[in-house]
């Protein structure tokens, strides 16, 4: 017999792991040990995750199309998107770095968006497919999400270092804000998604 805590009205505190019984719905409960809010499932998990994902999708295209770095010289101004920056690295010989930036800044946010979308849809449509693999992919996405911030820090570092008024000056482009927003939104989306929903809807908890 499979015992699911929520069916018994119990839950492990998300901060300290203490098993406790939260008070029924309208009352707000706090963990007796660490006083974090206690709920059976993350509140409005699917709604929050969906909203954050939609916002991230909306900003994903501008993030890649708008320039992330603007190089200002006395005679000309040059803009670089994430993609053109990667190509520059590749053709100037630093191809290991080009691959790293390609993976972290172009593939990874897209992968996060697609995986989270699939997870939300699979729960919403009550698909019973491969719950173990789904939760594993959730854990992976959750853990490596922060590495998408790579290009933001590259831009920040370049802007901070190259500040010569007469020769050249680098400043971040509007694409940088959009890209940072995409990364943060996907990180928040992964935080709001409750993986326990995968098991709730995959039919295993029927008795």
């Amino acid at each position: 017999m499979i015992l699911v805590a929520a069916k018994l009205g119990l839950t492990s505190c998300r901060t300290c792991g203490l098993l406790a019984r939260p008070a029924p719905a309208p009352l707000l409960s706090l963990c007796p040990r660490c006083r974090t809010p206690l709920t059976l499932r993350k509140p409005a998990s699917l709604i929050w995750t969906s909203v954050l994902l939609i916002a991230a999708y909306a900003l994903y295209v501008p993030a890649n199309m708008l320039p992330i770095i603007v190089t200002e010289r006395p005679l000309d101004t040059q803009t670089d998107t994430i993609l053109s920056g990667t190509l520059y690295l590749w053709f100037s010989g630093a191809w290991p770095l080009a691959i790293i930036v390609l993976l972290a800044s172009i593939m990874l946010p897209l992968a996060k968006l697609l995986v989270l979308t699939f997870l939300v849809l699979s729960v919403e449509l009550r698909l019973r497919v491969l719950p173990l693999q789904r939760v594993r992919s959730y854990r992976l996405i959750h853990a490596i999400g922060r590495w998408s911030m790579l290009d933001i820090f590259v831009a920040a570092m370049l802007a901070g270092a190259v500040q010569f008024q007469t020769l050249a000056s680098i400043r971040p482009g509007s694409g940088a804000i959009a890209f940072a927003a995409v990364v943060i939104l996907t990180m928040l989306a992964a935080n709001t998604f409750d993986p326990r929903l995968i098991w709730d809807t995959s039919g295993e908890s029927h008795e």
């Binding site: 839950t11 007796p32 040990r33 173990l132 820090f153 901070g160 010569f164 940072a180 709730d200």
Partner: protein, 210 residues
């Protein structure tokens, strides 16, 4: 003979990833305890004593202080020189009309790691004295858990590396102390996070059940 503490008595928990109720036993040395249905880590691999974690936390705090006080790199182009510190990087973002980006970088690179190290130091110092259950250390450990996910020193290090490789072609680079102490801070923060025994910390902070 092993002393049975509240941390080592078998207890029942609900898996954080699949909500299955199960017995959560202490793993053998070098092993981890996994959820029997979804393989989530319930009790991580061997953690160190609070003193070890405290040592790493203090080292991290010192390294972070150095990383902020000194420049990361100095560029020399045609007799002009520009030294970059972490705060400089944030300041440029503020100046170029991007305060939101400046805040994000400031938080993930300066504030979050500092809060992580300081919160850990406070909690661990409190745990060395067997004082009664107090509210502030509990909030400090919660702060530590919350801020841990947003502390991105290692991502910044890789980003700085990529940027420096790009810059090598243009100017003469002089690497500053902050680069090395930031790398050291990255190692210390990771070691601190890996050695902290959350389970035992919560058991001690929680005090006796009412």
């Amino acid at each position: 003979m092993r002393r049975v503490t509240s941390a080592s008595r078998p207890q029942i928990i609900a898996c954080p990833d699949c909500d299955l109720l199960q017995n959560c036993l202490e793993p053998p040395y070098g092993g981890a305890t996994l959820c029997c249905r979804c393989e989530a880590v319930l009790v991580p691999r061997r953690r160190d004593s609070f003193d070890t974690t405290l040592a790493w936390a203090i080292a991290a705090a010192i390294m972070l202080a150095l990383a902020n006080a000194f420049p990361i790199v100095s560029l020399n182009v045609q007799a002009q020189q520009n030294a970059t510190t972490l705060i400089e990087t944030v300041r440029v973002l503020w100046q170029e009309d991007m305060p939101s980006l400046g805040f994000v970088v400031a938080f993930t690179i300066i504030l979050a790691p500092a809060l992580e190290a300081l919160a850990a130091i406070y909690v661990l110092l409190h745990l060395r004295r067997r004082s009664a259950r107090r509210r502030l250390p509990i909030y400090a450990l919660r702060l530590f858990r919350g801020v841990e996910a947003w502390s991105m020193t290692e991502v910044f290090m890789l980003g700085a590396l990529v940027a420096l490789v790009k810059l090598e072609d243009y100017a003469e680079l002089q690497y500053g102390l902050a680069l090395w102490s930031l790398a050291a801070a990255m190692v210390c923060l990771a070691a601190m996070g890996a050695s902290l025994n959350h389970h035992a910390a919560w058991a001690r902070l929680g005090g006796r059940a009412r």
